[in-house]
């Protein structure tokens, strides 16, 4: 009950801050513009310049989802960073945490309530923008509802990772410094994920390369493999794979090794990271004197 009380009033506070509405509005605007752009493209294109049939659907859906996802991912990411730098840090800096911690509530309950509020806010932000994207996709003929829904849940999950990296840092450091470190860590983790995918794709293709280069490549792949199991993982849905599988063009084959689809191992790994980061947040709060 105490966790829910903390979450409830944190969400209420977040809902009263204008920043969140600005971010949701920005994301929604991008999604709407993507939809309008596609309608105009279709209506004004001269006869024969817009491909027809399945390929047409593929191009349109790819553009729509691409632009929309950029909007949803970018704006939920900004929301995650903006919320996490203030979520606990403002309570600590203002001194409101003094009154809260003198009540019969543990720091574990406080941390859980704050994270629950953050996760709920991210999910709502992602859902609002996701519904906007779904409406745009529907206006272009519809389809892909299940992978679309999965994509938006995974976007919220990825941003929760970003948030939980910043939160423990914000208990100990200046919130701007915490945000910068948190963002750099997540971008490095994404880079490792991309490098892992690329290197294994190259290995799978089996392109002949000289033995010297081959040795270096193998070593680099091993290093990336190790790093891949050490850094947080970015979850990806099967939407891209499903959309690409509609294409008759081999270049966009749904079976391309460059298309990553997260499986249950990745989800379990993500959950382990979330648990670890939450534990770090709790330890940072427990040792913090107010």
């Amino acid at each position: 009950m105490k966790v829910l009380a903390i979450a409830l009033y944190t969400v209420r506070e977040l809902a009263r801050r204008k920043l969140l509405y600005f971010l949701i509005g920005g994301g929604a605007l991008l999604v709407i513009l993507a939809g309008i752009g596609l309608v105009l493209l279709r209506a004004n294109a001269p006869e024969g310049t817009v491909p027809v049939g399945d390929y047409s659907g593929f191009v349109l859906i790819t553009m729509t989802t691409g632009i929309s996802f950029f909007g949803v991912s970018f704006f939920t990411w900004i929301a995650a960073v903006a919320i996490s730098v203030t979520l606990i840090n403002h309570d600590l800096e203002s001194g409101s945490v003094v009154s809260i911690f003198s009540k019969p509530v543990s720091r574990l309950e406080y941390a859980a309530g704050k994270v629950l509020a953050a996760a709920a806010t991210l999910l709502v932000t992602s859902t609002v923008l996701g519904v906007g994207t779904w409406i745009v996709v529907l206006s272009q003929g519809g389809g892909h509802e299940a992978p679309l829904a999965k994509t938006f849940v995974l976007i919220a999950a990825n941003q929760l990772t970003q948030m939980l990296i910043i939160l423990p840092l914000s208990v100990r450091l200046n919130n701007i410094v915490a945000a910068i470190i948190g963002v750099v860590v997540v971008q490095l983790a994404k880079l490792v994920g991309t490098a892992h995918l690329l290197m294994h794709a190259i290995q799978d293709v089996g392109t002949p390369i000289s033995s010297t280069v081959s040795d270096g490549f193998r070593l680099a792949t091993r290093v990336v493999d190790v790093l891949y199991w050490l850094v947080p993982r970015y979850l990806e849905s099967d939407l891209q794979k499903e959309v690409y599988s509609q294409s008759s063009d081999a270049a966009f084959s749904g079976s391309s090794p460059l298309i990553n689809v997260s499986d249950w191992t990745d989800v379990a790994f993500w959950a382990a990271w979330i648990a670890l980061l939450f534990a770090l947040l709790f330890l940072a709060l427990r040792s913090r004197e107010v």
């Binding site: 009950m1 944190t10 209420r12 506070e13 409101s96 009154s99 009540k103 019969p104 004197e289």
Partner: protein
């Protein structure tokens, strides 16, 4: 009388190279007693108060409230703490802050609503609809007192409770302390307003540089014909900034 709050041989500092903020202090507060904690700025009073409220931990010694470690959430169930310069989630209204804190204290909806009306009314904030970020310092201090009362505490810790209050507010706090004492509540009052302490406190401890300098009833510490302020000034006269001569150097 049984001790509601007890501090035994406590030492505390904020970093291994820092001086001791509290250095071997022992004191106790009994039920129905008002205990004044006095001392010059930086004496270690707020450090003692924060340890009793479970906000910081002693490096040595023990701190107990209701016989338990105040770091245990359950031990704080009957504690009311009004911090110095209180602040609250700034986008919430006063009644929402009390509802929030009432939930943290495990009160049911009926209790929360009733006690919020009661505490806000006492604090002069009944019907106030603005969010905390629009409050003045005095209003925040009043809300700080109101939230400390929401639990109907058996131990009330007041850290400089009247520093931002007008004379009416100060009178209300004094009356509250007297009323709470009669009800059996232990009150620990940390204040620089010595006349107030003298009026309401049964016992007083004077602390300087983390050490207990004097402790006793007001009658024991204050000789006839003198005030607590006289005693305090005599104790620390050597430490105070050079009196006089400052403005004289400005010339005509």
């Amino acid at each position: 009388m049984s001790a509601v709050a007890q501090v035994q041989d406590v030492r505390k500092r904020y970093g291994s190279r820092q001086p001791w903020a509290v250095d071997g202090v022992s004191l106790s507060v009994a039920a129905g007693e008002a205990f004044g904690l006095l001392g010059p700025n930086g004496a270690g009073k707020t450090s003692i108060v924060k340890m009793l409220a479970g906000l910081t931990t002693p490096i040595e010694g023990s701190v107990r409230i209701f016989g338990a470690d105040p770091l245990e959430p359950g031990a704080r169930a009957r504690l009311g703490y009004a911090p110095e310069e209180p602040d609250f989630p700034k986008f919430l209204r006063g009644d929402e802050v009390l509802d929030y804190f009432g939930r943290l204290c495990g009160l049911d909806a009926g209790e929360r609503a009733g006690r919020a009306v009661e505490a806000l009314g006492w604090a002069g904030l009944g019907g106030e609809r603005r969010q905390v970020r629009q409050y003045s310092k005095g209003m925040k201090q009043r809300l700080g007192l109101a939230q400390a009362l929401i639990t109907h505490p058996q131990l009330l810790i007041l850290d400089e409770p009247t520093s931002d209050l007008d004379p009416l507010g100060r009178r209300a706090v004094r009356d509250l302390i007297v009323e709470l004492k009669q009800h059996g509540t232990a009150v620990l009052l940390n204040s620089h307003l010595l006349s107030e302490v003298e009026m309401v406190c049964d016992r007083v401890a004077i602390i300087n540089r983390g050490k207990l300098v004097r402790e006793g009833t007001v009658h024991e510490l204050v000789p006839a014909g003198k005030t607590l302020e006289d005693v305090f000034i005599e104790l620390f006269e050597g430490d105070r900034p050079t009196p006089g001569g400052f403005v004289g150097g400005w010339g005509e």
